[in-house]
């Protein structure tokens, strides 16, 4: 039985999984769009009412059953195994497009030496670097540069994972503190630039009137849910390597607060630099502020290139931070599925990791084409907003009603430093399911009324098919009788 070398190793791995690219490019923008500093209020409410209870539940289930998500859920109820598989397959699909974005970061890390994206970062990113095609139906050629970067990423993931949790512990001891220090350097640099406070004003100035809007609260709950790596079997499998009797609730609090704290710090690094960019170009902040891929590969690089000195150095720091923040999340997703196969089919860790990494790399090649960016966007939208939300909902019901919220709470309080009250069961059984249903309904209503991203209808059907396909293979794999069971 594998175990973490120390509590520190487990915490670093869990924080590394939770803190990813979304903390840098999603949280600051979501906060800005939803009331600025006032967004912190729904964010903290969401953190304590859904994020932390679900994280505690996942840690507890992993720690009790000491198996991957599908095997743990099977031990709760044989009919629940497929839900675990659905989660780990979604984690695998996410790791595929996540690795592609990390491959872009790796390429941009090298491009930072010459600041090659100047003078027009958008033109460089879309036309020269990606060679974006006219629509998702035209894939275009494969970008060799991205293929090599992808190969590097997947080989790294394999090398980190194949030896087991001890090797993961050693890697996260570097890849979690390092990007945090780099982010701190970026934030300090940003704060010393002219007009940095203009940017921070946009990020933090509170608009309390927005708190009356349900969409702001839903955005806070969605941010928490997606950021904490929930419903993908990751936290269950990481907790399964804890020694018996290890703390649960305090570990969950530390993981969730470190995740939120990193996102909050990222806001300072991002918005201070955006304020400087607005000051340099004369373009209003409203037009400059954006999130996601556009922020990481267009806006931020543009701002870096305009820095008064050592622009390349800060470019290297920014993309190294993205890369190191991303790698922990990427290998945690792969770890989730490899352990599921290892438990079910009694195959070696090395073999399972090799096969998963090989398949992941081969599928990711599709995303290294000119049309890849469209498919990354479509996959992300459907898997995050539909699949993960429904898996989270099913997990709440399985943990809360079949396993028993009170039973979980009793176990957590027996082993933990911070005792949790009855609020935990109420959140798990009633409140969290209600919130997740609301997120799913709101997303569904928006998809039906507005479509998504201006894509043709058939691409959205494909997006939905990916979600349904993941359910079908989950049910099939769950029904397979493995050697051990026979």
């Amino acid at each position: 039985m594998e175990n973490w070398q120390s509590r520190f190793a487990f915490l670093m791995a869990a924080i590394g999984s939770a803190v990813g690219l979304g903390n840098i490019w999603r949280f600051p923008y979501v906060a800005y769009k939803n009331g600025g500093g006032a967004f912190l209020i729904p964010y903290f409410v969401a953190l304590f009412t859904v994020g932390i209870p679900l994280l505690i539940a996942e840690f507890a289930v992993g720690s009790i059953f000491r198996k991957s998500a599908p095997s743990s859920l099977k031990m709760i109820s044989k009919k629940a195994e497929w839900v675990g598989w659905w989660g780990v397959f979604c984690a695998f699909f996410i790791s595929i497009y996540y690795s592609t974005i990390m491959a872009w970061c790796l390429c941009y890390l090298f491009h930072s030496f010459s600041l090659i994206w100047q003078p027009d970062a958008a033109n460089f990113f879309y036309n020269k670097f990606l060679g974006v095609t006219s629509s998702p139906s035209v894939l275009g050629g494969i970008n060799i540069q991205i293929v090599f970067a992808l190969l590097f990423i997947w080989v790294s993931i394999y090398l980190i994972l194949y030896k087991g949790v001890k090797s993961i512990g050693k890697v996260v001891a570097i890849t979690v503190p390092l990007p945090t220090i780099l982010l701190l350097i970026l934030a300090l640099r940003g704060l010393t630039l002219p007009a940095a406070t203009t940017g921070l004003e946009f990020y933090l100035s509170p608009d309390f009137s927005k708190l009356a809007s349900p969409s702001v609260w839903l955005a806070a709950y969605a941010q928490i849910f997606f950021s904490l790596s929930l419903a993908q079997g990751i936290m269950i499998v990481y907790a399964s390597f804890l020694k018996k009797g290890s703390d649960i609730s305090n570990n969950a609090f530390i993981t969730a607060l470190a995740d939120g704290g990193t996102a909050f710090l990222a806001g300072f690094a991002v918005f201070s630099v955006l304020g400087y960019l607005a000051y340099q170009t004369g373009v209003p902040m409203e037009e400059i502020a954006r999130g996601g891929i556009g922020l990481a590969f267009i806006t931020y690089p543009t701002a870096i290139a305009k820095m008064p000195f050592a622009a390349s150095f800060f470019g290297i720091i920014f993309f190294t931070a993205l890369l190191t923040f991303g790698i922990d999340s990427a290998f945690s997703m792969v770890e989730s599925i490899t352990n599921a196969f290892k438990d079910k089919f009694a195959i070696s860790r090395e073999k399972a990791t090799f096969v998963v990494c090989m398949i992941g790399f081969l599928i990711a090649l599709i995303l290294a084409t000119g049309g890849g960016i469209f498919w990354i966007d479509i996959m992300d939208h459907f898997i995050s907003n539909f699949a993960l939300v429904f898996i989270g909902l099913l997990e709440c019901l399985i943990f809360g009603y079949i396993l028993g919220g009170e039973k979980l709470r009793k176990y957590v309080n027996e082993v933990s430093e911070i005792k949790i009250g009855k609020w935990f069961s109420i959140m798990l059984k009633l409140f969290a399911p209600l919130v997740l249903i609301s997120i799913a309904l709101a997303t569904m209503a928006e998809l039906i009324s507005k479509g998504y991203g201006g894509y043709p209808a058939w691409t959205l059907v494909v997006g939905m098919f990916i979600v349904i396909f993941a359910i079908i293979i989950s049910v099939v794999v769950a029904r397979l009788k493995c050697q051990q069971e026979q």
């Binding site: 509590r7 600025g36 500093g37 006032a38 912190l40 903290f44 406070t197 921070l200 004003e201 990020y203 933090l204 100035s205 509170p206 703390d247 305090n250 609090f253 530390i254 607060l257 470190a258 939120g260 704290g261 909050f264 430093e417 911070i418």
Partner: protein, 32 residues
């Protein structure tokens, strides 16, 4: 920067980093 923005920066820092420091303190206390 406005007073509101400064207040929210302090509030966020207090909950995130103060909360984190408290949880780490509890973990260290148990270790002792």
């Amino acid at each position: 920067m406005s007073a509101g923005a400064i207040a929210m920066a302090l509030f966020g820092s207090m909950v995130f980093y103060g909360g984190l420091a408290y949880c780490i303190y509890r973990a260290m206390k148990k270790k002792e």
